[in-house]
């Protein structure tokens, strides 16, 4: 089978070391599933890397900020984020599950005060990073499936 190379990009973000099969989820979390006129997105699934299989996502002309990186950490905790400017990697950071997750995950409890019209963002306390376990700061419930609760 002929190998399909993902071309290097000039400006933008490369998300590397995504656990195989999770690239599309990462895009969904970033909210870029729909075509964006200013951004070319390349996805590579099941690429063989030095540490085994992985997914890679390349987003042209867009630099991810920390808050977006936090979102990815919830489903791709080992991913690395490479910011590319003029074909050079100017910044390389690992995603890390933060101690607190604010404004990213919606509480699954419909009766939770954070789901009412209150002037607060949702807030979760990370109980354990591996395996990832979080609980709502307000109602203390743990979501069964974190990825389905991402805002």
């Amino acid at each position: 089978m002929k190998e399909l190379k993902v071309q290097p990009i000039k400006d933008g973000t490369v998300i590397d070391h995504i656990a195989p099969g999770n690239a599309l989820k990462v895009l969904k979390i970033l909210g870029i599933t729909e075509t964006q006129p200013d951004s070319v997105i390349s996805i590579a699934i099941n690429v063989t890397g030095k540490r085994g299989k992985k997914d890679i996502v390349k987003i042209e002309n867009r630099e991810l900020d920390t808050k977006e990186v936090d979102k990815i950490a919830l489903i791709a905790p080992n991913a690395t984020i490479n910011i590319i400017r003029n074909t050079e990697v100017v910044e390389k950071r690992r995603v890390e599950v933060p101690d607190e997750i604010v404004g990213i995950v919606k509480c699954a409890n419909p009766n939770c005060i954070s789901n009412m019209k209150e002037p607060v963002e949702s807030k979760f306390i990370v109980k354990s990073k591996n395996p990832l376990r979080i609980k709502c700061y307000y109602c203390e419930r743990e979501p069964d499936d974190i990825s389905s609760q991402i805002i």
Partner: protein, 308 residues
């Protein structure tokens, strides 16, 4: 120990030492709560009592506590007549109320509401129940009752009986009892068992927990804590009657009980405890209700910094 300015949201916010200290202060409040001594300890303070859902018992107990200490009370007992009905957020209600008072007691139908209120208020928030969430003052008054009735919390074997799945008071109580190293029996119909997390947590804290769907071995029990099994939990009314009936406490149930076994219930009861038990020395539930007053007096005085 200084509690000034502290919120009382969940029993888990308190260490064993802090809980014991609150109970110690509560004990000193008893003569005042009984009306035998007068106090003007809180005469310059106003407590806002914000009941976004009705709970007569909790509200009256808090308001009595404040008034016995010479304090004043403002507030509402249901949201019907307030701006909440017009769609005001809890955050705004709290910001308004705190500008009129020194401490806020609240009960609210949403889980986490007290935690949210505490973020917006600079005065202490005391949680009088947040949905299916916490009800720390109930837990403290239960502990206080066990201590008063039995002399200590530790040296008892305690059975929690009834709806252990949805009954919020029993979850906090189980945690608190585990904190004191108390071995427990969880007795409930299979469909209303204590949630796994609570059982695991108790076991991790090093106490011995037995799970059963039958109330037996009563001769080994020192405290029987009974909760209501609600009709709504059963789709079939006959099934409800059968299940509820098998956990009903009457004179016959208590035949083999220890002389000094006490029966507790957070009240209101429906028919979990037969009224014939009321006259026996086992019945502690009315004293338990009274105990809500000195415990709440202690908490209000502590968070206002008038008792240190």
């Amino acid at each position: 120990m200084n509690f000034e300015g502290r919120d009382v949201i969940s029993i888990k916010d308190f260490s064993k030492e802090e809980i014991l200290y609150i109970l110690e202060v509560a004990q000193k409040m008893v003569p005042i709560a009984e009306g035998k001594e007068k106090s003007d300890l809180l005469s310059n303070y106003i407590m806002a009592s914000l009941f976004f859902e009705p709970s007569t018992r909790t509200r009256l107990s808090f308001e009595t506590a404040m008034k016995r200490l010479g304090g004043m009370v403002i507030g509402f007992s249901q949201p019907g007549t307030t701006s909440i009905q017009k769609g005001e957020t809890l955050a705004d209600t709290i910001r308004t109320a705190e500008s009129y008072c020194d401490v806020i007691v609240m009960r609210h139908p949403n889980e986490g509401s007290a935690r949210l209120a505490a973020e917006f208020a600079s005065v202490p928030i005391i949680n009088g129940g947040d949905g299916a969430g916490h009800h720390p003052t109930q837990c403290l008054l239960d502990l206080f009752t066990i201590k008063r009735e039995k002399g200590s919390i530790e040296k008892n074997r305690i059975a929690l009986v009834g709806d252990l799945k949805y009954g919020r008071t029993v979850h906090s109580l189980a945690y608190a009892l585990a904190l004191f190293g108390v071995d427990m029996m969880f007795v409930s119909p299979p469909e209303l068992q204590m949630p796994k997390e609570v059982v695991e947590e108790c076991r991790e804290m090093g106490v011995d927990v037995t799970i059963s769907n039958k109330l037996d071995n009563l001769d080994e029990i020192d405290v029987l804590y009974v909760t209501r099994i609600q009709k709504e939990r059963f789709p079939d009314p006959e099934e409800y009657s059968r299940v509820a009936g098998s956990y009903r406490i009457d004179l016959k149930t208590l035949e083999n009980a220890k002389e000094d076994l006490i029966v507790m219930h957070p009240l209101p009861r429906v028919d979990e405890i037969s009224s014939e038990v009321d006259k026996t020395k086992h019945a502690a539930y009315f004293r338990q209700t009274f105990n809500g007053v000195p415990v709440r007096m202690a908490l209000i005085a502590l968070v206002l910094g008038e008792v240190k």
